[in-house]
Structures are given as C-alpha cells and as structure tokens.
C-alpha cells in the first residue's frame, strides 16, 4: 500500500503550490499514472479520498487520473509500439522480447485552485 506514501507526497506538493499562489482550496487535481508505475489507481484514489478530507485545502477536491501508454521497443528489429498493456510480440518481426520505455511516471500535471 505504498499508494498512501504517494498520496502524502501529492498533498505536500498541493500545500506548497497553494502557499506559493495564495490559494485556499483545491478544486481538481490532474495526474498521469503510467501502466508500469506500480501504482494501483483504485488504491491511490482510496488513499486520496481518506487523506484529502483531513485538510480544508483539499477537502472535496476531485482527482482526475489519466493513463498514458508505455512504449515497447523490439529487441530484434527496433520497432516501437505504444500500448497500455504489454504486447505479446512485435508486429513487424514477431519477436517476443520487447524493452519497455516510459509508462512508469506518476506525474502531477495540473491543479485547479481558488
């Protein structure tokens, strides 16, 4: 359940941003959580619901999570494909060994505050 640690990191970042911009309330938070990030989105949402309710800054804030795909490069022919789930093989040469690139990010993209 390391999602709780990540939610705590998010709340710390939100408090810093609110102080920097002199805002009192977070309305929406938009995040990218990649398919190879090792984060269970439902657990993250659950953690956010619990911990965000503890402060007036984040109480009632809405979380918008997007899942950008990862890129997989074929070890044999170098062909790249993007996918949310791991492809079984390379569509060009049928090789099964594909090197994942990216897709492991947990990125705070934007915050709407007032």
């Amino acid at each position: 359940m390391h999602e709780m640690s990540l939610v705590q990191a998010l709340l710390t970042q939100l408090a810093t941003l609110a102080a920097e911009h002199d805002k009192k309330r977070v309305i929406t938070v938009t995040l990218d959580i990649g398919p190879l990030s090792g984060v269970v989105v439902d657990s993250f949402q659950f953690g956010f619901d619990i911990l965000s309710a503890e402060s007036n800054l984040t109480k009632g804030a809405k979380l918008i999570i997007t899942n950008p795909p990862a890129t997989y490069q074929c070890i044999r022919c170098g062909h790249r494909q993007t996918s949310l789930i791991r492809p079984d093989h390379c569509p060009e040469c049928d090789e099964t060994l594909l090197i994942p690139e990216g897709g492991d990010g947990i990125i705070l993209n934007k915050v709407e505050m007032e």
Partner: protein
C-alpha cells in the same frame, strides 16, 4: 465572490481576487522529492567510493542468508556494509552484525518500503559505525515486499530482485514492476528444487519477457550451488 470571501465586511475593497479559480500547470513527478534525495544519496555513495545494491524480494526469500554467505565469502577482500530495512525489530541487523561488518537497522514503523530519505539518514549513521566510513560495497536490504519498494529509487547503482523456489515461478508475471526496474534476478534456494514445482526456465523466460536486459541467475546460499556466478557479478559491478 465578494459575498463569500469576506470582502464586503471591509471598506477599502482594493485587493485583487487571488482566490478566483486558477489552473496551475505543474508537470512534476510525485516522486520528485524522493528522487532528489536519491540523487544526493548516489553522489554520497560515489564520494565514498561505494557501489550500492538495493535488494528487493518477498519476505522470507533468503535476502539475509545470501548476505551472510556473501560477507563470509568476500571477507578480507571487499569491505561490505549493510543497511537493513524492516517494519519492526533489528533481528536481521543482529545476524549481519554477527558477521563482523558495519550495519544499521532502519525500522520503517509500518511503512512497506524504504525511501531515499531513510537511506540518507541510515548512511550517516553507518559512517559513524566502526569501519562504516571505509566501504567498497553497500547492500540495502529492502523491506520484504515485492510490490512497494520497486517504486522508490534509493540512489542505488544496481537493483537485485530475488525469488525463492518455494514462492513459485509466477512471481515475475504477477509483480512486473520489481523485475522491470531491476538489473539482476536471483532465484534462491535452488537446493529445494527437488521438492517444489519450480521450472527455472519458465521463471527466467517470464522475467526476460518483462525486461530483456535482466541478468538471471539461480543459486543456493546454503549448498553453494550457483553461488560463484553471484560473486562474479559482484566483482564485475565493483570494477
């Protein structure tokens, strides 16, 4: 807006409405704070001339036993230190200390993984132990957990994921992140292969399917089978 923010209660209404909704573009990783400390840790390791290895596995896969045997084997040749991560107790640190190398126990008090800040503190404490400031190789034994530690960079040079034969060969497929983010996959307790259904080739293929660059080895720290490949690997990363 003014009826809710309190501006109408004061006469001089001259401040700007800074609490109007505003979208702030951030585009920063939630792990940015951890990763910044991890980068400092790495610089600290390098200033000390240390190669750091982060060991990740389920509880009971044999991390501590592998470390005990590794310390015995390399004693007098490579100066080893250990940071032990556990939720509770210093039992693993006691086992390592009995081998005569500097060790610091980091108890996370419930957290399921080590983070870079804990390693930063642990490293400073380790430097104060006898011999702790003169090391070649630092093992960081993460909290026994095949999921959460994989997300947190500690500043290590190498990440090793371990699976023991009794756990079964399906771990790479079930817990991909640990295998994608590691350089080495060690199958431990191979002396138990006669008693468990653990097709080594299948586990190896599953792991390589996730991460074709992964180096895979199988060993028994108890019987010594396959142990030399592990020692060779350590000597290679030390160069």
């Amino acid at each position: 807006m003014c009826d809710s923010c309190g501006c109408d209660l004061v006469n001089n209404h001259n401040h700007s409405h800074e609490h109007d909704p505003q979208v702030i573009e951030v585009h920063q990783s939630l792990l940015a704070a951890n990763d910044a400390i991890a980068a400092q840790n790495k610089a600290h390791f390098e200033a000390m001339g240390i190669v750091a290895i982060n060991m990740i596995s389920s509880p009971g896969s044999g991390k501590t036993t592998l470390l005990e045997k590794t310390i015995e084997r390399l004693k007098g040749k490579i100066r080893i230190g250990v940071l032990e991560g556990d939720i509770e107790t210093d039992r693993d640190a006691q086992r390592i200390r009995a081998k005569g190398v500097p060790v610091i126990q980091i108890t996370t008090g419930g957290a399921c993984h080590l983070d870079a800040a804990q390693i930063h503190k642990g490293l400073h404490l380790l430097e104060q132990e006898p011999g702790g400031d003169q090391l070649d190789l630092l093992f960081i034994e993460n909290v026994g957990n095949l999921v959460c530690p994989a997300t947190f960079d500690l500043g290590e040079h190498q990440r090793v994921v371990l699976v023991s034969v009794p756990e079964g060969p399906d771990k790479p497929a079930k817990y991909p992140k640990a295998f994608i983010s590691s350089q080495i996959f060690v199958i431990t307790k191979t002396d138990l292969l006669p008693y468990f259904d653990f097709p080594v080739a299948e586990a190896r293929a599953d792991a390589l399917h996730l991460n074709p660059r992964l180096q895979v080895m199988a060993l028994s720290a108890t019987s010594g089978e396959g142990f030399e490949a592990w020692i060779d690997y350590l000597e290679t990363v030390m160069q």
